[in-house]
Symmetry: C2
Subunit: 189 residues, 2 copies
């Protein structure tokens, strides 16, 4: 059924179209190794991100509801943010959880790493589980941040996702990759 296997294009020079505080928009050249055709594709260069599944001792997930400028809507999500340059993604996740929600727990566990958009972004989003999360720390919000912080039983969080009430792509990824961990935790009753 299949035609010849897809090829890895060779990456050529990039040229910057715009630089912003949170990303750089480029046109990056690629050359097909067989056809030798050269094309420029849009590539957004951005730092890695992290999203955190925080599980409380009574088996609830810590969620944040916030206004999002891209979607121009409120969005119910897991906590998360930008991994600082040189920062370990797990450390970044623990930090973002604490800053946004005041919850502290551990020890943290890597759930996985996803590509927010491999077609046009060069960055990763790391997903971290923080078990035994408890509200202990003071909130440290960035100047333009405001969150509603809530906890939901794990199965209720999945139900909300299935009902379309959690729509943030990477928050949903976090729920997917948390699933096998949750099955194991739940079976330990």
């Amino acid at each position: 059924m299949n035609p010849p296997a897809p090829q890895r294009w060779e990456r050529l020079a990039r040229r910057s179209l715009a630089v912003t505080r949170i990303l750089e928009l480029t046109l990056t050249g690629f050359r097909h190794p067989v056809r030798r055709t050269e094309r420029e594709f849009v590539v957004i260069e951005a730092p890695d991100w992290v999203n955190v599944v925080a599980l409380t001792p009574d088996r609830q997930l810590v969620l944040v509801n916030q206004f999002r400028y891209g979607s121009n809507e409120f969005s119910l999500e897991v906590p998360g943010g930008v991994v600082e340059r040189g920062e370990d993604p797990v450390v970044a996740g623990v930090r973002e959880l604490e800053e946004e929600t005041g919850f502290v727990g551990g020890p943290p566990v890597r759930l996985g790493t996803v590509r927010p958009n491999p077609a046009m972004q060069n960055n990763h989003c790391h997903l971290v589980l923080v078990p035994d999360a408890r509200p202990t720390a003071a909130l440290e919000w960035d100047p333009d941040e405001e969150f509603e912080i809530l906890t939901l039983p794990v199965e209720e969080a999945y139900a909300r996702a299935y009902r379309g009430e959690i729509t943030h792509a990477m928050a949903l990824d976090a729920l997917l990759l948390f699933r096998p961990h949750w099955e194991r935790i739940r079976s330990q009753a």
Copy 2:
């Protein structure tokens, strides 16, 4: 525990930083309704996207492996693409599935709609289930597209996702939102 509820910012004017074939990069103004502060945030304006869970009569999922320019890597994904202006997202999903893989099935079912990145993108990604998918149509690839087409038993696809072998954020969303449908299908033996 919670401070005052987060506010909906009022959207103001936008200014374009760059226009490309697949997106427009803007700085969009927002005003906080209480603090009255005004800020500009990066907003990427893009058309909606669609990703498709195609289930074969023998309960395998149709996946594509392709080189991705953003990540500069191969990526194992569900089929998908851009929803054309005015096109119904479900119709777009059926079309993309057929063009990329030659699989045709139905009737299609909406799995849900997610926000690829509500922090900085204004678009949606629609997720569609195409049951009873069979390889019947000719492939119609865009000039720069090449795919390896494969089918995997559903549980093997989830296992690959959990092992980090499927990393595309919205392909993983599709697997998450397909889960309750799959539980129902599977229970019908």
